[in-house]
């Protein structure tokens, strides 16, 4: 930069570098970075599920061992943390859904609340269905 000499016809621009801590500069930036990080929690759940399926394929004893491992305080703590992240992930994305999906009915834009509401409704119905299957399996 310093090699460029300033003349009235040749500007010498000043470029500020973005700080490594830019994501702490405002609450919405921090929220955004946290939302991006939630993908780690989603991947964690997927890996645990794959691990369980593999154990299931190896027979009842292997499966019991994995279940015992999953009941350890470390895994319970990780699960709670991951669940919190995944909930944050789902809720923030549902709230953003109306921005990405513009639904028009009879030429009028469907209000944002309704688009987000439909997402939440689908979430509740699916969760209830999964819960029903799990609870019936138990009873």
């Amino acid at each position: 930069m310093s090699t460029v000499r300033y003349t009235p016809y040749h500007p010498r621009w000043y470029r500020r570098r973005v700080s490594v801590w830019w994501w702490l500069q405002s609450r919405s930036y921090t929220g955004f970075v946290l939302r991006e990080l939630t993908s780690v929690a989603v991947a964690f759940f997927a890996l645990v599920l794959l691990w369980q399926i593999r154990a299931l394929g190896r027979g009842p004893e292997a499966y019991a061992r994995v279940l015992a491992r999953l009941r350890s305080p470390l895994f319970v703590a990780l699960d709670v943390l991951a669940l919190a992240f995944v909930l944050f992930h789902s809720i923030t994305w549902f709230n953003l859904a109306p921005k990405a999906m513009v639904v028009r009915l009879q030429g009028k834009r469907v209000p944002d609340l309704l688009v987000a509401g439909a997402n939440y409704a689908a979430w509740i119905v699916l969760s209830a269905a999964v819960a029903a299957i799990l609870l019936r399996g138990r009873g």
Binding site: W13, Y14, R15, R16, V18, S28, Y29, F32, L96, G107
Partner: protein, 246 residues
């Protein structure tokens, strides 16, 4: 009510400083004054060497965008009375190279804007004898919001992605591409999709959403980009189908 207010203004005089400094000015506090009025007061009465851009004073020209108290704002729409007590910090728009004081170089944006062909593209122009292209109010509604953009660049200044990846084509350029895509008279959406599907196009956006919050004209560039992503993804899925497009 205080009789004066302090403005802490970023100065950069490339002929004798290598980086910006801050200069404070004491200006009269008036209820009906915006930050731009205060800057003009400084220029007229206190320090004629202060440089900044402005034109219309009414939120139409998009020239007076600056960082006011850390937020990208139009200075003509930022009332002194709405700012928190204490000095008002006025800095140039973030992420753009500073030419002098509060003036930034927007060449990068002008180049990107042209890339998305922000005009009506026709495969073949309708002969004059056939008259004008007609449009219904509903067809106008489909793109009207995006056409309100005044190129003030507050959205670029609010976008951390643009700060980190200066090659990103950016919010306003994509919103303006969408403005023409949604126009019933336009036939250029396939060309624009090509350009915006490139590495520096829409997929760089990770939906921070700050551009929409910063927009003084309620264009909602973040929404435009996400809608564009949906269109692009749908287009890609169609190409996978055996009877799909080539």
């Amino acid at each position: 009510m205080p009789s004066t207010v302090t403005l802490a203004v970023a100065r950069y005089r490339p002929e004798n400083e290598s980086e910006p400094s801050v200069q404070t000015y004491e200006v009269p506090f008036r209820k009906d004054w915006v930050v731009l009025d205060a800057l003009n007061y400084i220029k007229d009465r206190l320090d004629g060497s202060l440089s900044f851009r402005w034109s219309c004073r009414m939120g139409v020209c998009g020239s007076c965008g600056m960082t006011v108290n850390g937020q990208p704002r139009l200075t003509c729409a930022s009332f002194l009375s709405s700012e928190p007590p204490g000095p008002i910090r006025v800095e140039p728009l973030r992420y753009f190279p500073v030419v002098r004081d509060l003036v930034v170089d927007i060449t990068d944006f002008m180049r990107k804007l042209k890339k998305v062909k922000p005009w009506i593209v026709r495969r073949e122009d309708q002969p004059l004898a056939e008259g004008e292209y007609l449009q219904t109010p509903d067809q106008l509604d489909a793109y009207k919001q995006f056409s309100m953009c005044i190129n003030c660049l507050l959205c670029y200044s609010a976008c951390p992605i643009y700060g980190l990846e200066p090659s990103f084509i950016g919010p306003a350029a994509i919103a303006l591409a969408q403005r023409y895509n949604q126009d019933s008279r336009d036939e250029g959406s396939a060309e624009r999709l090509q350009i915006l599907s490139e590495h520096d196009g829409m997929w760089q956006c990770t939906f921070v959403g700050e551009c929409t919050k910063a927009c003084p004209k309620h264009v909602d560039p973040a929404g435009a980009i996400q809608q564009y992503k949906l269109t692009s993804a749908a287009h890609w899925f169609k190409t996978l189908l055996p009877w799909g497009m080539k």
